[in-house]
Structure formats: structure tokens, C-alpha cells
Symmetry: D2
Subunit: 324 residues, 4 copies
């Protein structure tokens, strides 16, 4: 059994990790750390876990084999500085601290996009879990990048559920505002652009064209739907493009190419990524969907853990979808 | 023209008042008071009013004919104490300060349920606007109460939209919590029970039976749907009950009896109240719907103003429904 | 491995069964029967199953150990008449054909409410799976009924998600109608009242008082929230009532008593039932929640299968909740 | 008073027309035509109109001054062929029959985008009301087109509410499918591209670049949110672009430029169009919002009628927004 500790235990990604790990056959959760709720039963905060666990929030960890960091963005560095974590303990960071700056305190973080970096992750001691928007968009483009086929500007609109904004209530997550509403935020400037660019380049697309990314807030709770297109010169015939995608993801148990158009709820509450590809007007158009809390956060984190500990990549991640 | 001032101008009910009054043919809005946003354009806070008004939040009022108090519950008394309001200025309070305690500082507040107190309101200097749940439930029961026909316990479940909880974000108005969710709060103890009881008694039902009221939080923004039933001994034949309701509301331009079952969106964004009545198992079952922000708050406040100033009750209140 | 066949394979409950059974460690799905889609891949209809199965709809079954009937209400009898099912093959009916009329063609159907009939189900060849509203309401009342404590009229409002209305599109499941809307249907006359009454009587409450049940359509997809109350004379002190509930469900792995008030999404996408109990105004008030497609249909059907085949009741049913 | 007839009276756009026209001070509705519901009260189909009208669906019109055609796309031609409409009767077609093919039976249809064709509409006998997506996108681009500034490819994602799909229930408007879901349809091929192209060219942008348009289905009922961008070479300084937009819409009472980012509900249930403009990465990015049933259909149709009959453009269209 893998002894697991979770830091930042009261937030959304920690809750989702608990939902997954409590049913994971190879995991023992040794501690769920919270600075604000020490002594409180975990199921009092994550209310849907009533009956599933008697865990209580603790002040610190004991002897974990791995710590998941579910702290706010920018707080993982402070946690590593403030806590004396044995070098034998693996770390999986769900924040953005180490995605683009992978070295800290003699620890080197591998970028945890399993579909790209599977082999490095297997031997990694530290993993920086990718961002949710980034995961959706990278899955849409990785096969093309791997063949250095991204030559023209890339156009992306992606719409996210409210859980991506975290647990703290605010104006744009107020139900009275958000219900039946749509808005754009951080157009062309979203912070995930950097990890998207780094990843596509490292995959083989040395000279990356500009990526124009308009993020949108959707009136739903879970999931990201990305619509991505770029000019397509036909250097590779269309059926071969589909084959390229299928081949690229052949050994990836969670990513599939759909012949039919896709809709977001086909992946909600699963660790899957679904892609659909069409060609129009001289463009290749790729739609890509994930659940932002699962494949976009806690599910991918567990997928990384499975790889790091030599387990089958899907252990504990064959989740029943929500579908509706 | 009626010179209007609105106190508590940044909240939901003030915004809804503005949406109505800006198109009211007999109203001039002289001031929108806010302690927190003096100098800010009104349309920067109530964003949908862009293009409709150049008003700016002010620190106080000038010479209004009427002040609408849209302060938090309990704050109207403080406002009246702190501000020297000429006795010639009418007051319409949308809070709960004077519904059950109608005398303050030599001012007497008439309970502003137009369908019951139309004549007193016409001559009133001060009106306490009813609560939203209370309005929905009283409309369902007033005709029976007016004939002293409420003899047996009354059972009420009513479900409200999120705007009823106000503008301040919180755990139970967080979109991630509220979307696709249902919950109960303050069962059997909701504060509107007092004004419901007072009203039904004053309507003629001297010995009111117990009212069991379970309020529910719905995953929608606007409206209240109430399901109300009580044992029916048949002292009045069923068709005469329908006639009683129709007769009671004959001169009320906003309340209608539907022969068909009703659904909430039939009244959303209007000042209407719709009722539907059936008889089953020895019970009379009444469903009642209003828009909590319109008939349940700001629309009813304007209806009261119209009566107080001798205007047609419907002036400025023939609103296009949302329907969808 | 248990060889499973599913009849009525394109509907919602069949889809949900597939979502569960595809990850069930002791099940082999031998056939998914559809009269309309023979030869079509299952994942073309249940789109979220892409990547999870290569099953194709078939015309009939082969040699199943158990057949799940996911046909429309009233169609199970015809299926049994038209098909020659070996007497050794178990049947679990998700329709309402045998809940109140348990004998047909020499087959006797046990009512499949596991929390009540666990022992009979273990040896049953045929099970009639309970209705979704009925399950929610029976879980709220069974402990009291088991002690013959239901003496006074019972008042129930319960609100259901749209998936309860099935797959065929119609006026009241049209998104433009249903979104942000609430309505009542079949008040006091819902067909589940019969199985509720039979169950409570068989549990030990010989003289059942009248049950007043107002079903509501909610603007969400999954789940039922029931609010149930009845007069409480205090014959059993309040803490003992809580103990009675806890004791009654002690050996039931899916039903829990929450000390805190509950909200619907705490059970969505799980097989759990959650109850919360309060006392007010001389009443006992019980709120009860389930996912209508899981505990209210396909999950409970699998729970029944587990019992019938001697498996642990929870096998394949430790599902990650949706929570949001 | 203008005598109005509405053909296709049971559909969504006819209902919305009725909601507006019943409160229009210069309109008398003489007939609401339906082939399927002759003799049925209008308020039995458009349920929110209970109390607002006693109109009954009729088989044909009498002597209208104007007929609104709210028939399905492609059915307006048949209606004009089958009915002998006096040449003195004006026609406003809400379908797509005459938007790109403006001549039929000696009638010439002016394209009814008021902000562009105000003067021609004033003297028109026939108007083809623009499409909803088209209106949203044209409002975003018209000022640039009017100065022949659209030189580079245009990228558009626009997301629509379910009412755009009409009243007939179907798979993609089923609540169980649509709630909390997002999907793309007709990417790069939507039929509104033709009227968008024609309009921008006629506005002065003779050589129109390619318009790449990805329409999306949103999980809300009303409104369209369009995100539009195109490369910007800076030939016009940024502040002058804002001035260009403000100047272009100065005499348009329903279109406004917002300095702050916009969200869809700011226009729901109004006839307004709101635009917000930013510059990033060498692109000009315009977000544009309307209510698809109001400015995108029935509201714009009334706006056209007002112009055709010499009324103030805003008569009957100062609608209270929904806001929430």
C-alpha cells in the first residue's frame, strides 16, 4: 500500500482526490492536512464523503510515500520550504508553481502530462501536474506537435466549469450571476499559455506559432470544452491525420478519438479525454473535452502516482461517468 | 412626476427597482443612495443598466416624494433614526423592520399586500412591503381566510430562487454548490411565518391553525413556487371555491387563477401571481407562483407607490415576461 | 463471472447499468438487447462509453445468468411472455410490472428494496426493483414503520431530476421549458404510492395512515430530494429515534444518517441514501436523498444482483460521487 | 393604431412578439394565425400570457396593416403564395427566406438590420428580419466594415441559448442532455455566414476576408455571446477605433459600447446589443451579446415595424431586463 498525504485538504482538488483515493485499491490515506480545520472530520467539509471515511484533518503528515500538494497557486514553494519532507517522499504538485520552473530545493519536477511524458514520470520523484485548460488544449495539439506540423497560428476558445475557480465564493461564481450566463476572461493572456507552449515545443514543434486563446466562463460546474483550429496545408492527407492521432494515443488508456461530434458531458466525472477532428475551409478543427477536476487535476494526479509507483496507469481511475 | 429616492442602492432589490422605475412614466429618480459607492455610476454596479441611465450613486437624498428603503433586514430603523426625513415624504420599506411592528418614530406602516390592503395603502404615508415567501403563500390562502375557512393545519413547501438570498456571495449561493442542487433551510421556523399569520388573521380568519412551512433552496435565480394544502371538509362546494378565488381577485390586476397546472417561469420577470387549485383525498391543494424580485419585492413596492400616489395600479408594471 | 443480459438497452436505466457493470469485477455482459438498434455499437447511443466497450446491440440474449429488464413500464410482462427464458435464469425488473403484482408465469418477484428485504433477495430468482420516488420515501420511513410508529398522516414533497422522465424528448423535458423552472405533477395520485404503502405495511406498520405526496419536477438532471413529516407524539424520545434509524441501517452499507442538514448533490452519482432528522412543532421531519438513476434504479438493481449471487453487497458500487 | 397579424402563432418567436406587442401602445393585434390550433386561446399555448390577453388562434388574417411571418425557415414563400395579401399590407419575415434572396412575387425585401439600414427600412413595404447569430456578429463588425477595415481573416466563436433551436423537442434540446453541457455544431458552415458576408460587403467592405465561425450550443435558454477577433495592423489608433464604434452607433438607441468586460445576462430580455473591445497580440477582440429572441428575432422585428410606420424606434421596446 502507498501511504498518501494530502496538503491543502479542504479545497476542491483535495476533495476530488479523496473521492478517488478512498476507493483506490493500493492506497492508504495517512493524513489530510489543513491549517484551518485541524480536528474536524473530513466528511464535515467534503459532505458527500459521509459514510466513506472517518478521516480527520490533521496538522501535518507522518511518513507518507507521496504528498499531494493541493494548495493555492504559488503556495507550494512555501510548503516545501516550511516542511522538512524526506527526500524519499515523492511529491505531486497540483498547483502551478513548478510547471514552468521545475527546479526547487534540489527537487526536479517532471511535467506530469502522462500522455507525453509517461516514461519520465515512471521514474520521477516529483511531478508538476498540468493545468486544466492546458491539458485540454495540449491533448488537442500534441500529435501534430510531435511531428512538427504546427506551422500557422493556432486559434483556441475554451469554456470552463465553475469548479475551476475554486471554493472561495466570489462575484463571478455567485449563482445569481453565473446561472444562464457566459463571459470571457483573460483573453489572449491566460497564464496556461506558457505551459502549453513549453509542452508543444518539447514535443517536437521547435518553432511554435502564436497561440490565440480566449477562455470563457460557462454556467456549469465540471468540465472544459476546447475548440481549436489552425490552417492546414494538407501536407499530410486527412485520413493520415486521424491515424496520427490514433497512433499517438494508442497506448494512452484515457484518450480517445471520436468519429462523431462530442459534447462535454461524455467525459464528466471520468479521467478521459475525448477528441474529435474535422477539416473545413483549409483548417483542421479539433474539439477536446475533459473533466477539469479529474483529468484536469486530481484524476491526472492519481494517474501520475500510479505511474510513479509502478502500478497500472488506470488503477482506481475506471470511474463511472456522470453522463447527465 | 414623482421624485423618488432609493436607499441601499447597490443591492438586488434596488437594482430591480431601478429596472422598473427607469421606464415608469410618472417617476423621476432623484437619488440612488449608497454608503459604499458614492460617485460611482449606477450602471457600473447594475451592469445591465448600461445605456439606460447616467445616474451616479449619491450620499443622501434631496427632496424626494418617496424613499424606497432597500437596506438589509433590520437596517431600516437605523436609517430612519439617522436621517431627518420630512414627514411629507412617503416611505416604502422593502425590509422586514415594520411588517410585524408597524409603528416607529410617529410613523405608522401599512402592510403593503395590495390585494388585501388596497384601500389603506391608497392613503398611507408609510408602507411595509411584504416578504417574498409570505406574498406567495398569502396569495394562496387569502380568499379562504377572508371567509374564515382555514380550520385545519396548513402544509406548505415553497422553493425559492437564489436572488432571494441577496448579493453577498456565500457557501449556499456558490454556483458550484447550488447548480443542480436542492436543500431545505429553516424548516418550520422561517421568519415569514409571523407576517403570514398576522395577515390571515386580519383578513378574517380569527383562529388560525398551525402553518407548517418547509422552505427550500432551488437551483434557479428568480421566482418562488409554493405548494400549499389543507384539509377540506367540503363546507363550500368545489366550484364555489374557485368562484371565491376569482371573486376575491377580480379587482386585482396581477393575480389570476389558472385552470391548468402552472409552472414557475409563467411569472418570471412579471408582477403577476398565478394560482392553481385542485381537490384530492379530502384536501384542497393550491399552487402559487411569483417572481421573488418583482411581485415579491420591487414590483410590489412600485405597485404600492402607484396606489399611494393615486396612479393606476399597473403603471409601469406591464412587464414583458421572460417565459424561458 | 456472472453472465448478464440487458433488455431495453438504449434507455437511460440500461445506460446507467452499463456504466456500472462495465467496471464490475464479477460481471461479463453477454448481450445488450435492443429492438431498434441491432448491430449498432453501444457507445454510439451511450456516447460517454466510448473507449469503455466494444459491445454491439443484439437482437436477443444467449445464456445469461441474469437478465435486467430496462423496458418501459408495463412492457416487462410482454417480454417474459414473448421470450423463452430458462427457469434457471434470474430476472431483475427495473419497471413497475411486478412491484405490486409479484406473480407472473410461475415466477415470484421479491420486492428489491435491499435495506428491507435483504435476506429474501439473497435467495430470490426474481426481483422487482423499487421505483425511484418510492425508494427515497421508503428509506425515510422504514425505521418508524418497522416499529409500527406511523400513526398520523404523512406529508411528502419530493422533487426529481429530469432523467426520471426517460429518454424520449417531450414538452416537460424540453430544455427551454425546464431550465430554471419548477412544477408539480400528479399531486396526491402518483403511482408509487401503492408500493410505498405495501412496503411500510409489510415492514410492520399494519394500519398505515394516509400518505399525502406532492411530486415536483426540478430543473436538474439527477437525484430526488424528499421532505417528509408526520406528527410525533414523543412516545419515543428524540435521541432514541435517531438511534432507531442508525440501528435499522447499521448493516446497510449505503444508507447513512447525517447530523447536518443535507443537500442533493451529496449523493449524486453514488448508490447512497442520506437521511437527516429534525423535530419541530410536534412533528418529526425527515429529509431523504438518492440519485434516481443509481440507488433509485440501476445501482439498486446491481445491489440486488450482488445479493442474489452471494457477492458482497457493495461490489462494483463504490462509486466516486459527482459532488458538484 | 397599427393592425397586426402574426402567422405561425404557436412558435417561440410568435410568443415573444406577443409578449412585446401586447404592451405596445400603438398596436392592435387583429389575428394570431395557426394552422394547428384554430379556436384555442393564445394563453393556453403561451402560458405566461394568462391574464394578458383573451386572443384566440384564428385560421387567417382580416385586414392587417402588417403581417409578421413566424413560420419555419423556408415556409414564408409558401405562405405568400398561398395567401392573397394586399399590396398595401406590409410584411416582416422572421424566417430566412428573403435575407439573401430579397425579391419574391413583386415584393422586394429590405434586410432589416436597423443599425445599418435604418433609412431604407423607414420606407420599406417588406423587411427580412436578420438571423440571431448574424445580428450578434454583424453588430460586432459593422463599424469596421463601414470603413473597409476588415482585411484579415475573421475568427468567431458564438454560443447560443436553447430557444434558438425552436419549440419542437429533440435530442439536443432534451434537458437531460443539454443541462450542464456544451457542444459545437455546423462549424465553419453555418447558414448565417451568407447574410453576414452580404451585410459587411454592402456596408463598405468590398473584399471581405474569410469568416471562420464556430457556433456552440450553450446550456442556457436565452441569448448569444459572440467572441470575434481579427488581426489589427494599427492603421487606426486604438482610441480612434473605440470612437469609430461609438460614432457608428450614436443614433442607434439599443447598441452600446461597454468599457468593462460584458456578460450575457446584461442584455437578456432586452432589445439591446452590447459590445466590448480590447486589443491584444496584434488582434482586435470584440465581444458582442444580444438576446436571441428579442434583438435576434421578435424585438428587432418590432423595431423594424416602428421604423416602417414612422414611430420612434424604441416604442414598446423599453423592456425591463432579466439581469439574473
Amino acid at each position: 500500500m502507498i501511504n498518501v498525504s494530502i496538503a491543502g485538504g479542504t479545497g476542491y482538488t483535495a476533495g476530488e482526490l479523496l473521492r478517488i483515493l478512498l476507493h483506490h485499491p493500493e492506497v492508504n490515506i495517512e493524513s489530510v492536512i489543513s491549517t484551518t480545520s485541524v480536528g474536524t472530520p473530513v466528511a464535515e467539509i467534503h459532505r458527500d464523503l459521509l459514510g466513506d471515511t472517518n478521516l480527520v484533518f490533521s496538522e501535518t503528515f507522518h511518513q507518507p510515500d507521496v504528498i499531494f500538494l493541493c494548495l493555492g497557486h504559488g503556495l507550494s514553494r512555501a510548503f516545501l520550504s516550511d516542511n522538512n519532507i524526506p527526500s524519499s517522499c515523492r511529491i505531486i504538485d497540483l498547483g502551478n508553481d513548478f510547471r514552468n520552473n521545475p527546479v526547487f530545493n534540489n527537487r526536479h519536477f517532471v511535467f506530469g502530462l502522462c500522455e507525453q511524458n509517461r516514461e519520465q514520470i515512471r521514474t520521477a520523484m516529483n511531478v508538476a501536474n498540468p493545468g486544466c485548460f492546458a491539458t485540454t488544449i495540449m491533448l488537442a495539439l500534441l500529435p501534430l506537435a510531435s511531428r512538427n506540423l504546427l506551422k500557422e497560428e493556432i486559434h483556441v476558445h475554451a469554456i470552463t466549469g465553475s469548479t475551476g475557480a475554486g471554493k472561495k465564493p466570489g462575484d463571478t461564481t455567485h449563482f445569481s450571476y453565473r446561472d444562464n450566463n457566459i463571459s470571457v476572461y483573460k483573453p489572449f493572456t491566460h497564464q496556461h499559455l506558457e505551459e502549453i507552449g513549453n509542452t508543444l515545443k518539447s514535443a517536437g514543434n521547435n518553432n511554435l506559432p502564436q497561440v490565440n486563446f480566449v477562455p470563457m466562463r460557462g454556467d456549469f460546474t465540471r468540465g472544459i470544452f476546447a475548440s481549436v483550429y489552425t490552417k492546414w496545408n494538407g501536407s499530410l492527407p486527412e485520413p493520415e491525420v486521424i491515424d496520427l492521432y490514433k497512433g499517438y494515443y494508442r497506448s494512452s488508456p484515457f484518450v480517445f478519438i471520436s468519429q462523431q461530434a462530442i459534447s462535454l458531458k461524455e467525459v464528466v466525472n471520468t479521467n478521459k479525454g475525448l477528441l474529435h477532428i474535422e477539416f473545413h475551409n483549409g483548417y483542421i478543427h479539433i474539439t477536446s473535452i475533459i473533466d477539469n477536476l479529474v483529468k484536469g487535476a486530481s484524476g491526472q494526479a492519481v494517474q501520475n502516482m500510479n505511474l510513479m509507483f509502478g502500478l497500472d496507469e488506470t488503477t482506481g481511475l475506471r470511474l463511472k461517468g456522470n453522463a447527465f
